[in-house]
Chain length 202, copies 2
């Protein structure tokens, strides 16, 4: 699935450059994989290319957008209006991809009632009713680790089936609910691990 996202990014670059067709070899080298892997990945979803002619760039880009659920927009609730929440609220790549933040919630009385780009920050106390009211489909959680499991339980109760979690905590969710974690400390640890190994001469 990550590879599909990367292929789509390459296709969109080619689209902007006005390129009409692309070979699996070319897609592979841009995505850091092999031509055989590209053909295998795409064949799961249908037959897109013509032997010897490659893939039609705009057609394949459109198909990948549809497969990735990007041919429509998604209603996103942001829970946690701290610095990380603010950074994500402004993150241009979310909006460009059709992820629309339709509500922002926080527990801090100083923040509740303030406006971010026309959206009034709501009190997390009313989480369930707010999420239903705005028909949120995805929740982005930038709340502290100590409270994140409680927030997740409430978000799932309100009908959310897809969660992007920024707290460094492994969340428990019922079957049918997808959680992705963005754990920046873990990514930094992978770097220090590599540096420490390098420094020991392995």
């Amino acid at each position: 699935m990550r590879r599909l996202s990367l292929y789509l990014r390459s296709l969109e670059e080619l689209e902007r450059a006005g390129v009409a067709t692309v070979s699996s070899q070319e897609l592979a080298s841009r995505g850091g994989t092999t031509a055989a892997q590209v053909r295998k990945d795409l064949s799961h979803f249908g037959s897109f290319g013509k032997r010897g002619l490659g893939y039609g760039v705009p057609h394949l880009a459109g198909e990948l957008r549809r497969i990735l659920g990007l041919s429509r927009s998604w209603r996103v609730a942001l829970v946690g209006a701290g610095r990380m929440g603010a950074a994500l609220f402004e993150y241009p790549n979310f909006r460009d991809r059709g992820f629309r933040i339709v509500t922002v919630l926080d527990q801090d009385p100083e923040k509740v009632g303030k406006e971010w780009g026309g959206i009034v920050i709501r009190d997390v106390e009313g989480l369930e009713s707010v999420l239903r009211e705005v028909r949120a489909e995805i929740a982005i959680l930038t709340v502290p680790g100590e409270v994140v499991q409680e927030v997740v339980d409430r978000v799932v109760d309100a009908g959310i089936r897809a969660i992007l979690n920024f707290a460094p905590v492994r969340l428990r969710v019922p079957p049918g609910v997808v959680v992705n974690d963005v754990n920046m400390a873990l990514e930094l640890e992978a770097l220090s691990f590599a540096l420490a190994r390098g420094a020991r001469g392995r």
Copy 2:
């Protein structure tokens, strides 16, 4: 390596709770894996447990911190003082893990010279000399995708061997340089992919 980080988190929770020993089974269930996997992962780095007695919690935690390069602190340069940079600068998990941001750079004349928590924001024009001066070991890049490859090339020229990249671009680096990407848009796409598939009844 990710699993080692997760084991360490579990061990630190147990340490705080005053627990003296832990079985591979218990570590496995906390890390979402199997006891055999835990034993295999740890055996790569030495012999830590006693058959039938489990692992000593403080000892194993200390060993994992050493293996992960967390028993020392790392000097980190933050390039990009936008909203994401500001959020990361304040991110408590970085400091707790020994990642010390020792310099912040930006290209915006409005930002250069301002202070963040006692650190004066420097002009990215002098990137190479600043990184050498502060002896930075890791670079966190929160710069736009259009310029990130150029910044990476300069950071590598300045001797940096470990990079955490937030731009949605696949970076080219010479051998011996490690790059980890945090791509939040990609994580959201993985959610929309799952929701779109769910909605089609697969």
